[in-house]
Symmetry: C2
Subunit: 325 residues, 2 copies
């Protein structure tokens, strides 16, 4: 299949929204931002998934596409931005570029998630080479209200969404470091690894409520540290408060489950801070969106991260994943 | 070197322009489009260069960065857009991520070109894996005046900028298909391959003048065919009119030089069409910008591309490069 046929067959999906004045098929796409926003700004992010680094070669194409898009949507979510348009740079080995079932599953996974958020593919590049996926995502947000890492205030309560550590638990299976205790546990954790939930609605709901936010991609301790550094504050968190799924706790028991929840990446839940007087609004938002939001600690003035487990100080040598480290 | 050190050391260059409300270092960058444009639109494009597909492993890091950015700028040029912001997704093998001279040369090449066009790096992703560079480029253009592929009109004159085939000539050396006749010829052609000129000023100058435009990345015949297809027209072009550099003609003689000019990619010159009454304005623009602009043919109503050489019909079996073909 030639490059243009491949694009036409698998990536020309859905209707072109009004904001897109020129779609795929020219040198550039042309899009028109929503000028009705008070302080219109574009939130722009890029994430790459590389075979062998971010996923294993035998990953399902459907999950791979979903995950590649979800990681980018998650960055928009953590700014409180409304997803608008994305570009896809797909580098494919020859054998995959000829594999129609792989391509059609990839396309299905991509548009399944994109359509949920009215997120429109405006173009990209298809090249031959080692398998990797780079997505550039653009959203809209009032830049005076965007959820930045730098806004945490002393006294803020620290919250996380959903449950943590599930994707890290799945990785233990994938790397043969643990054996699933049941098929159900395996499925529950693998699903969280393959199909992370980008917390778009939560991000939008937090605009005007949260003082700072980040998505947990490298691990809670690592990502919370980014907030602390950017805000020039410290924090204390209590590990027994970390929300862990039943599957994670059953598989790894409490202690190891908490460790995975504190240091494992790839969950793409949000970590955010809010002032005390807005805590009740957070509980209301949690009910409204049907997303667990759990308070795990507090922002302090002393610029260090204090971790306790049942009120005993805990030391972690590694706080998360870093490329090239 | 860890990921964050690498970004801080090599990719935090230059002052943040006013349009950038939040720069590198958060989940997203926040940028504000220029709302003074009449019909503000964003021109967005993505191009990937993969080692072994688009460049050879021994390419100089300075040239690689320059070329990766130039190919994206060229897409903005061919829409008549003003470059604004770009993201960089850099996938590096471990040995390169530790090679400080490679990284600093890459950084130098990138910002040398970016600064020429006040093109601001707003973020990206750094991952470990096989060497590839994906850039997402954003520019601004009035969407009613943007230079599209679909605007060519019957009777339009077809122009190309600069000289064609030089990069294809250099590729003959790189692939050991030809031996340079002199060091000067080698340098002249290699420079065009390594450091393509993105015709930004020309693209801006063509807004309001040209009916259609494209940049020549896959080869003149292939790229002109995209204009013809999008505009539902045909064309005749005369090969003896193709502008070839002295170096190309001296190395390959006239016939082979013309073939390279007609089918070779990677020159990143612009091909555009203008109505007859605007031809004199094109000559004026050529003088003003000091860029050769050469008429090579005409748009016809019959939807085929007629190629002649000294008025004799010519057949080409291959019209340009296609991935996966």
């Amino acid at each position: 299949m030639a490059e243009f046929d491949l694009i036409n067959r698998y990536f020309q999906v859905g209707q072109t929204p009004q904001s897109v004045k020129l779609d795929k098929g020219d040198d550039c796409a042309l899009v028109v931002p929503n000028l009705q926003l008070n302080n219109t700004s574009l939130a722009i992010t890029t994430d790459t998934l590389v075979c062998g680094t971010h996923f294993l070669p035998d990953i399902q194409a459907h999950a791979l596409a979903f995950r590649a898009l979800a990681t980018n949507l998650s960055d928009l979510a953590s700014m409180g931005a409304q997803p608008k348009w994305f570009s896809l740079a797909l580098c494919l080995p020859k054998e995959i570029s000829q594999n129609e079932s792989w391509l059609s599953e990839f396309s299905r996974g991509l548009f399944e998630l994109a359509n949920q958020h009215k997120f429109h593919l405006i173009g990209g590049d298809t090249t031959s080479g080692p398998l990797s996926i780079t997505i550039n995502a653009i959203g809209e947000v009032d830049h005076q209200k965007a959820l930045k890492r730098s806004g945490a205030q002393v006294g803020d309560k620290i919250f996380v969404s959903g449950t943590l550590g599930d994707a890290a638990g799945a990785l233990e299976f994938l790397l043969n470091k643990a054996k699933p205790k049941s098929e159900q546990i395996k499925q529950d954790l693998m699903r969280r690894f393959d199909y992370p939930t980008a917390r778009i609605e939560l991000g939008l709901g937090l605009v005007g409520l949260a003082n700072s936010a980040i998505d947990i991609s490298d691990g809670l301790l690592a990502d919370l540290s980014h907030i602390l550094k950017a805000s020039n504050v410290g924090a204390s968190i209590e590990l027994s408060q970390l929300p862990c799924s039943a599957a994670l706790t059953e598989q790894f028991f409490e202690k190891q489950a908490r460790k995975l929840a504190a240091t494992g990446g790839d969950d793409y839940e949000l970590c955010f801070t809010v002032s005390s007087e807005k805590v009740s609004a957070i509980h209301k938002l949690s009910k409204q969106l049907n997303i667990p939001l759990t308070c795990i600690g507090e922002i302090l003035s002393e610029t260090r991260l204090e971790v306790t487990e049942n009120n005993q100080a805990v030391q972690y040598s590694q706080t998360g994943y870093q490329h090239f480290a």
